[in-house]
C-alpha cells in the first residue's frame, strides 16, 4: 500500500468514527458518576432513614399527676419503717390520682385503659421519692411521671388530638379523649429523655435505655484494647524489626493476612468452644467478649502497625545503632515513638471495628436481657450493637425509635473514634 493512500484512509476513517467514540466516552464517564452518586445516595438514605426514625427517642412525654400520698393508700402505718415502705403499694396511689382526674372511667375495662396511660415506671419514681423523703407521706403534691409509650409517641409526634381519626395509634377513643383533656389542662410535657441514657434494658419501651449496653461496650473495649494493643504492637515489632527471613516468618505473615479475612462469626465459635466450654469462663461476660474481639482485631492492628514501623526510614535505625544502641534500644527509643501515631491510628480503627461487631458476641451469649448495669468485666452484660439487634427484634412499635436512637449513639461513637484517628494521622503525619 502506498503511503499517500493510507494517510487519506486513516484520516477519513478515523474522522468517520469520531462522533460515536466521543459519545461513548461521555457515556462511560456518566456511568462512573452515576455509580458514585448512587453509592453515596445509599449512604444518605440509610442515615436519613435512621435519624428520622431515631430522633423522637431522645424526647419523652411526661404526665403531671396530683398525688395524694396518704398512708392509708400506701397501705402502711402512720410512721412506717423502711421495710414497710419497700413493700408499700405505690401503684395504688398513682391509680387513685388518675381516677381522680377522670372519675368517668368506671368499668374494669375503662379503668385498665386509664391506668395504661402512665408508664409502669411511674411507681418506681414515686418509690424512690418516698424512700428518700419519708416525711412527704400524708401530703398532697404534684408529680411529673413518665407516660406510657403509646400516648407518649402520639404527644411527641405533635399529633392533633382534636382530630383523633387521623392519628395512627393503638390508643382507643376513651384514651384519646383523656389524653386530649390532659393536654388541655397542661398536664402533658415533652422533655429530653434522660431515661434513655440512665436505664438498662426494659420490656417497656419508654423505660428502656442504653446505659447497661454502653457500660458493657466500655468494659468489652477496655479488655479488647488492653489485650490487643500490647500484643499487636509486640508482634508487629517482632515481624518488622527482628524476624529472620525464613519459612516460619512467611507462615506467620500469610496467617495474619488470612485471619484478617476470616468471618467474624467464626471467631465467635472459637470463643464458645475454647473460652466458655473449655476454660469455663463466664458466659455473657465482657471479659470473654473482649478476648474474642481482641483476637479479631489483632490482624488489623498488626498490619497497620507494621506499615507504620516500615515508614520509619532505615537511616534513623542506623544512626541509633551507630551510637551503640542495642537492637531493642533502637526500637524502643527511636523507631517506636516515631511510628506511634500510625500505630495508634490503626488501633483506633481496629477498636471502632470491634465496637460495631455483633455476630461473635451472639455466640458467647452476650444477647442476654440486661436490666442491671454491669459492675465488672465478669458480670453478665450486653453491648451496644447487640442491644440494637435485640431491640430490632422486639414487636413493640416504640422500640423502632429506640433501635434507631441506639444506632445513632453507636454511630456517634464510631464517628468520634474515626475523627480521632484522622486527626492523629493528619497531625503527626511525617514524610521522609
Amino acid at each position: 500500500m502506498s503511503a499517500d493512500k493510507s494517510i487519506t484512509d486513516t484520516t477519513t476513517l478515523v474522522r468517520r468514527s469520531l462522533a460515536k467514540r466521543h459519545a461513548a466516552e461521555k457515556r462511560f464517564r456518566a456511568y462512573g458518576i452515576f455509580a458514585i452518586v448512587a453509592s453515596l445516595s445509599f449512604l444518605v438514605i440509610l442515615l436519613v432513614s435512621i435519624i428520622s426514625k431515631g430522633l423522637p427517642a431522645f424526647k419523652a412525654t411526661y404526665v403531671n399527676l396530683d398525688i395524694n400520698l396518704s398512708a392509708e393508700a400506701l397501705g402502711v402505718s402512720e410512721s412506717p419503717d423502711r421495710t414497710e415502705l419497700r413493700s408499700a403499694s405505690y401503684n395504688t396511689v398513682i391509680r387513685e390520682s388518675l381516677r381522680e382526674l377522670f372519675p368517668e372511667a368506671s368499668s374494669r375495662r375503662e379503668k385498665k385503659d386509664l391506668y395504661a396511660l402512665v408508664s409502669n415506671g411511674a411507681e418506681y419514681d414515686l418509690f424512690d421519692l418516698v424512700i428518700e423523703n419519708p416525711e412527704i407521706i400524708g401530703t398532697t403534691f404534684s408529680l411529673w411521671v413518665l407516660a406510657d409509650d403509646e400516648m407518649g409517641s402520639v404527644i411527641k409526634n405533635g399529633d392533633d388530638l382534636t382530630n383523633p381519626e387521623n392519628i395512627v395509634t393503638r390508643m382507643n377513643e376513651n384514651q384519646l379523649s383523656w389524653a386530649k383533656k390532659l393536654q388541655d389542662d397542661g398536664r402533658l410535657d415533652v422533655r429530653f429523655n434522660t431515661a434513655f441514657f440512665e436505664n438498662g434494658d426494659s420490656r417497656e419501651p419508654e423505660l428502656a435505655g442504653i446505659k447497661a449496653a454502653l457500660i458493657g461496650s466500655a468494659f468489652t473495649l477496655l479488655i479488647t484494647f488492653s489485650l490487643s494493643f500490647p500484643i499487636a504492637v509486640a508482634a508487629a515489632i517482632y515481624l518488622e524489626e527482628f524476624a529472620p527471613q525464613n519459612r516460619w516468618t512467611d507462615v506467620v505473615e500469610v496467617n495474619i493476612n488470612n485471619l484478617a479475612a476470616v468471618p467474624s462469626i467464626v471467631f465467635g465459635l472459637l470463643g464458645l468452644a475454647v473460652f466458655i466450654n473449655y476454660f469455663h469462663l463466664p458466659r455473657s461476660a465482657p471479659v470473654v467478649g473482649g478476648i474474642v474481639l481482641s483476637l479479631m482485631t489483632l490482624p488489623t492492628i498488626i498490619i497497620s502497625s507494621r506499615a507504620a514501623l516500615k515508614a520509619v526510614p532505615p537511616s534513623i535505625r542506623e544512626a541509633a545503632r551507630g551510637l551503640g544502641a542495642s537492637d531493642l534500644q533502637v526500637v524502643t527509643h527511636h523507631v517506636l515513638p516515631l511510628a506511634m501515631p500510625g500505630i495508634l491510628t490503626g488501633t483506633i480503627i481496629g477498636l471502632a471495628q470491634a465496637l460495631g461487631e455483633t455476630a461473635p458476641l451472639l455466640m458467647i451469649g452476650m444477647v442476654a436481657f440486661i436490666v442491671d448495669i454491669p459492675q465488672s468485666v465478669t458480670d453478665s452484660a450486653t453491648v451496644l450493637p447487640v442491644q440494637v439487634f435485640l431491640w430490632a427484634d422486639s414487636p413493640e412499635r416504640a422500640f423502632v425509635e429506640k433501635t434507631s436512637a441506639a444506632i445513632m449513639v453507636l454511630l456517634a461513637f464510631l464517628v468520634a473514634m474515626n475523627a480521632v484517628a484522622v486527626f492523629l494521622r493528619k497531625r503527626f503525619e511525617r514524610r521522609w
Binding site: N257, L269, L272
Partner: protein, 462 residues
C-alpha cells in the same frame, strides 16, 4: 483476694521493684567508681528486678487458676450424695454446676437440701483456702524473686542482655498468637464437627436437601433423628451472596474507575472517604435497615406490580449486603487500577484512543487479575456476613433461586442453633460447628486464592 486483684498487686510490686532496683544500681555504681563501671544502665537493672518479681508470680497465678477447678472438683467428689453418684456422670456434672452457681450467687443460706448445703459449704471452704494459699504463695514468690535479683545487681551482671532476651521472647510469643488463633479456630471447629459427624453422616450433611434441626432434640426417640441436609443453606448463602455481588461489583468497579482515572485530586479526596463510611457502618445497622426499610419497600413495589414478595426476602438482604460491600470492591479495584503503569496508558493515548477506550481495553485487562482477586475477597466477605442475613433473610430452609422468597444461610443457622439454651452434646448444637467448619474452609480457600492472585499481580508491576 480475687485473681484480678492479685495480678494487679503483682504488677504494683513489680513497679516498686523497678524503682528500688534502679536506685540500688546507682548505689552499687557509686561504690565501684561510677556508672561507667556497670555493664548495663540502671533502668536495665531495675527492669531485671521487676521481671524477676512479676514473671514467676504471674506464672504461678495463671497455672494455679488453670488447675484449680479440676483439683477442687475432684476433692468435692467426696461430698456428693451417693444417689447422685449412682445416677451417672452427667447428673454429677449437673449437680456440681448447680452447687457452683449457688456459691457464686451467694445463696447457700437458702438451700433447703441438707446434703447440697453441706457440699456447697465445702466448695466455698475449698475455694477460700485455695485463694488464700495462692495469695500467700504468689506474694512470697514475688518478694523472693525480687530480693534474689536485687542481690545480683553487680557491675558484671549483664542485666541488659537478660532483659532483652526476655523482651524478645515476649515479642516472639505475641507474633505466635496469630498462629495460635488459627490453630484454635481450626481445632475448635474440627473437634466439634467430628463429634457431629459421629451422629450424622457426612454425606447426608453436605448433600442432603432437608434441613430441620429442631427435631433432633428428641434424638433418643425412635425414628426421629432430625435432618441435617445443609444444601438449602448453601443454596441460600450462594443466592444472597450472588445478589450482593451483582450490586457491589458494578457500583464498586465503576466508582473505582471514575475515582482512579477521571476524578480530580480534590473530588477523589472527598469522595473516597465518604465511600469508606459505607464500610465502617456496623453490620447490625445494615441488618436493621434491610429489615425495616428495604424489605418493606421491595415488598411494596413487588406487590404493586403483582408479584408475591415474602416479608423477608433474599433480595432485600442481598441488596443491602451489596451496598455494604461496594467500598471493598471499589478500594481494592482502585488500588490495582492505579498500580497499572502510566506508560501503558501513554502507549494507548499515543495511538489516539480516547480515555474510555484506554480504560476499557488497556487498563482493565491489565488490572483484571487484581480486580478478580478483590472480587473474590468481597465474595468471601459476603458469604461470611452474619447480621444482615440474621435480621433480614429469615429462617426458611428452602432450595430456590427466586430472590423474592425468604431463604436462610449458613451463618443464620449458626446463630439460630447457638443462641438460646444449648446442650453441648446434642447434634443440634454440634451442627453449628460443622456449618462453621464449612464456612471457614470456603472463605479460607477464597481468601488464599484471592491474596495469592493479588500478590502475583502486584509483583508483576513492581
Amino acid at each position: 483476694m480475687s485473681a484480678t486483684t492479685l495480678v494487679l498487686v503483682a504488677i504494683a510490686l513489680a513497679a516498686l521493684s523497678f524503682a528500688y532496683g534502679r536506685m540500688q544500681a546507682f548505689q552499687v555504681a557509686s561504690k565501684h567508681g561510677g556508672m561507667k563501671s556497670m555493664h548495663s544502665l540502671p533502668s536495665h537493672y531495675g527492669m531485671m528486678v521487676a521481671l524477676w518479681c512479676a514473671l514467676p508470680a504471674l506464672a504461678i497465678i495463671i497455672g494455679w487458676k488453670l488447675i484449680e477447678p479440676t483439683v477442687i472438683s475432684s476433692v468435692l467428689d467426696g461430698s456428693i450424695p451417693q444417689e447422685i453418684v449412682d445416677a451417672g456422670p452427667k447428673t454429677i456434672e449437673l449437680y456440681k454446676n448447680d452447687i457452683g452457681n449457688l456459691v457464686d450467687s451467694d445463696k447457700i443460706s437458702g438451700i433447703a437440701d441438707a446434703g447440697k448445703k453441706l457440699a456447697a459449704e465445702k466448695l466455698r471452704g475449698l475455694r477460700h483456702i485455695s485463694s488464700v494459699a495462692l495469695m500467700i504463695l504468689a506474694l512470697c514468690v514475688a518478694v523472693v524473686g525480687a530480693s534474689l535479683a536485687l542481690k545480683r545487681i553487680k557491675p558484671n551482671t549483664r542485666a541488659r542482655v537478660t532483659v532483652e532476651k526476655i523482651v524478645r521472647f515476649f515479642l516472639i510469643g505475641s507474633a505466635s498468637i496469630a498462629i495460635l488463633t488459627t490453630v484454635g479456630i481450626v481445632a475448635s471447629v474440627i473437634f466439634e464437627s467430628l463429634r457431629f459427624f459421629q451422629q450424622v453422616d457426612f454425606f447426608d450433611f453436605v448433600a442432603g436437601t432437608q434441613w430441620s434441626p429442631q427435631t433432633a432434640i428428641r434424638a433418643d426417640q425412635a425414628g426421629s433423628s432430625g435432618s441435617f441436609g445443609a444444601v438449602p443453606l448453601f443454596v441460600g448463602t450462594l443466592l444472597i451472596s450472588f445478589i450482593a455481588m451483582i450490586v457491589a461489583v458494578p457500583f464498586g468497579l465503576l466508582s473505582a474507575i471514575y475515582l482512579a482515572e477521571y476524578a480530580s485530586r480534590r473530588v477523589r479526596s472527598i469522595v473516597k472517604p465518604l465511600l469508606e463510611i459505607l464500610a465502617g457502618i456496623p453490620t447490625v445497622v445494615y441488618g436493621f435497615f434491610a429489615a425495616l426499610t428495604v424489605a418493606p419497600a421491595i415488598r411494596h413495589v413487588g406487590e404493586s406490580i403483582g408479584l408475591s414478595v415474602s416479608s423477608e426476602s433474599a433480595l432485600a438482604a442481598g441488596a443491602v449486603m451489596g451496598i455494604m460491600i461496594i467500598p471493598f470492591v471499589s478500594s481494592l479495584s482502585d488500588d490495582v487500577i492505579t498500580a497499572v503503569p502510566q506508560a501503558m496508558r501513554d502507549g494507548s493515548y499515543g495511538l489516539g484512543s480516547t480515555k474510555s477506550e484506554t480504560i476499557r481495553q488497556v487498563v482493565i485487562p491489565a488490572a483484571l487479575p487484581g480486580i478478580v482477586g478483590g472480587i473474590l475477597l468481597a465474595a468471601s466477605r459476603a458469604i461470611g456476613e452474619t447480621m444482615i442475613v440474621v435480621m433480614a433473610a429469615g429462617l426458611a430452609a428452602k432450595i430456590t433461586a427466586n430472590p423474592l422468597e425468604a431463604v436462610t444461610t449458613v451463618t443464620v443457622q449458626i446463630v439460630t442453633l447457638l443462641t438460646g439454651d444449648q446442650e453441648f452434646d446434642s447434634a443440634k448444637t454440634l451442627a453449628a460447628f460443622a456449618l462453621g467448619l464449612m464456612l471457614f474452609v470456603v472463605t479460607l480457600c477464597l481468601n488464599v486464592i484471592a491474596l495469592q492472585v493479588v500478590r502475583k499481580y502486584r509483583e508483576q508491576y513492581e
